[in-house]
């Protein structure tokens, strides 16, 4: 299972014990095509790029937000503002996962988010708890006119009544599977993998 920032601690730890299988489901081309389509949908949904603002969720959501920003610029000739959100302090499972030593920066675009159309960008949508935390944090920052949720992969398994507005690809997954989104800045390549841990290791 992927953690909120798209990393796979659990998988990597157990890989030492039991070999897990890794299946590529999107290569760089596929991801780029998906991003381009997501950008178009976004523009269409918003009737243009005006008032749009991207908020990438730490950490891989931030990279994807940059890709989206570039696509929108190519299509509309307009650089939409981009901010980042670290939802660590808004999580509902601090006691269970333990504190993280380094909390990423939540950074708003200079104009703030009041009356803006904010697009939350993340890599994988799973239980919906990260999106919930991101919504709470955004509300503390100000009063956006509209919030959209935009994810590269929707793997199902929702625990909260949250649905994405824009999805790059939907993937059916089992509980013992994790979806890993790889980005060049952190992983050296652009791809999506599904990692399957044998049930006895999970």
């Amino acid at each position: 299972m992927a953690s909120c920032t798209g990393e796979t601690l659990f998988v990597e730890a157990s890989r030492l014990l039991v070999p897990s299988t890794r299946t590529p489901v999107m290569d760089a081309k596929a991801v780029e095509r998906a991003i381009a389509r997501m950008a178009r949908e976004l523009i269409e949904m918003n009737a243009g790029a005006a008032e749009l603002m991207l908020m990438g969720i730490h950490r891989r959501g931030v990279q994807l937000a940059h890709l989206l920003q570039a696509e929108i610029e190519r299509a509309e000739g307009l650089t939409v503002p981009l901010g980042t959100l670290d939802i660590t302090l808004y999580r509902d499972d601090l006691m269970a996962i333990g504190p993280r030593p380094v909390i990423g920066e939540s950074k708003l675009p200079p104009g703030g988010i009041d009356d803006q159309v904010v697009v939350i960008v993340d890599d994988v949508l799973f239980t919906g708890r990260t999106a919930r935390a991101a919504l709470n944090e955004l509300m503390d920052w100000g009063r956006p006119a509209r919030i959209y949720l935009c994810v590269l992969v929707d793997r199902g398994g929702r625990e909260l009544p949250i649905r994405p507005d824009i999805v790059g690809k939907s993937i059916e997954t089992m509980p013992n599977q994790a979806v890993e989104v790889l980005v060049p800045e952190l992983d050296g390549e652009l791809a999506v993998h599904v990692v399957t841990v044998p049930p006895e290791a999970a």
């Binding site: 299972m1 601690l9 302090l89 333990g98 504190p99 909390i103 990260t130 944090e137």
Partner: protein, 323 residues
């Protein structure tokens, strides 16, 4: 890679028993918390539902207020108990106070107490986390942490920096925590003050001793000027405040004679004109107000890290994350 923090354990009693990476973790964690105090809504929900008791057996305004801000900005519920107007003054023992608090199901206690060792005493007896907000002449870990954060902010690092603590080292919990913490992070540490106010064997802790303030100023990159308690004069440790200022006071004339600019810290509250002159306290090299700001961030970091449960739970739950 995401990693969980090196656990601080259940409590923060002092810096003497912390590992260097634990201290660094607290300082690093404080960084993002600084920004929360700049927000429009200065509050995050991370300690929502946690109950914290601020148990102050000694009067303290700044430390208590700083902890309260930290707690409120993390959304914890807080109760303040101070020595006046509580059973603390009616002869109830510390252990009874602790048991009563425990019976009310609290999560953390922030305690200031006049006796050295009181924090570890409490920590050993209750399952809640205990944060030492100063115990007698023993330790005041959050003060030293905020001092170190301020030094790191100002000079970019702690390792290799020469820090001299000036004044009443003998009775000072701030001095002890600073000595332990700074040495662990690789600073060079010295103390300077009248011999009556330097504890026995302080050199064996690994610090240098300066007899004259002029020598300390020549050596140091940072001066941490400690408050001189007026009671020390009555007890005969120094003959008069006037003489103390003349011989040991940190004045701009003395600082001007130094080969380089020094960073000036003071844990407060200051006695202007005694241990520190006003033009130094208000001068360009004083970071005294940065210390106050950093105090809230450090205390938020400590409360956040202690609230985070035990490492085993963290291990077990890692797989249960989400996207």
């Amino acid at each position: 890679m995401t990693r969980t923090a090196p656990s601080l354990g259940k409590d923060l009693v002092g810096l003497e028993r912390l590992e260097p990476d634990q201290i660094s973790t607290i300082l690093d964690t404080a960084e993002p918390f600084k920004e929360i105090s700049e927000r429009r809504i200065k509050k995050v929900p991370v300690l929502r539902g946690k109950t914290i008791v601020n148990l102050f057996f000694e009067p303290s305004t700044r430390t208590r207020v700083s902890f309260e801000f930290a707690e409120k900005r993390l959304s914890a519920d807080t109760v303040n108990i101070s020595s006046s107007g509580s059973s603390v003054v009616k002869g109830e023992t510390l252990v009874d106070t602790a048991r009563n608090l425990e019976a009310m199901k609290i999560d953390m206690v922030v305690m200031r107490h006049g006796s050295s060792g009181a924090a570890s005493f409490l920590a050993d007896r209750i399952p809640s986390s205990v944060v030492n907000a100063g115990d007698g002449g023993h330790e005041h870990p959050t003060q030293a942490l905020l001092d170190m954060l301020t030094i790191r902010d100002t000079l970019g690092r702690i390792s290799g920096i020469k820090v001299c603590l000036v004044g009443d080292i003998l009775h000072s919990r701030v001095a002890r925590s600073n000595i332990f913490g700074l040495l662990k992070l690789g600073a060079e540490v010295a103390v300077c003050g009248p011999r009556t106010l330097l504890p026995r064997g302080v050199e064996e802790l690994g610090v240098s001793v300066f007899g004259r303030i002029e020598d300390a100023i020549e050596w140091a990159d940072v001066l941490n000027v400690l408050r001189l308690q007026f009671e020390r004069m009555k007890a005969g440790y120094v003959p008069s405040l006037r003489e103390y200022n003349r011989v040991w006071g940190v004045s701009s004339a003395r600082l001007d004679a130094a080969p380089k600019d020094l960073v000036i810290l003071h844990p407060g509250p200051m006695n202007r004109g005694v241990e520190i002159d006003s033009d130094v306290a208000d001068g360009p090299h004083s970071v005294i107000l940065n210390q106050v700001t950093n105090g809230v961030a450090i205390r938020m970091a400590v409360l956040y890290l202690l609230a985070g449960g035990v490492p085993e739970a963290a291990e077990a739950a890692k797989g249960g994350g989400e996207s």
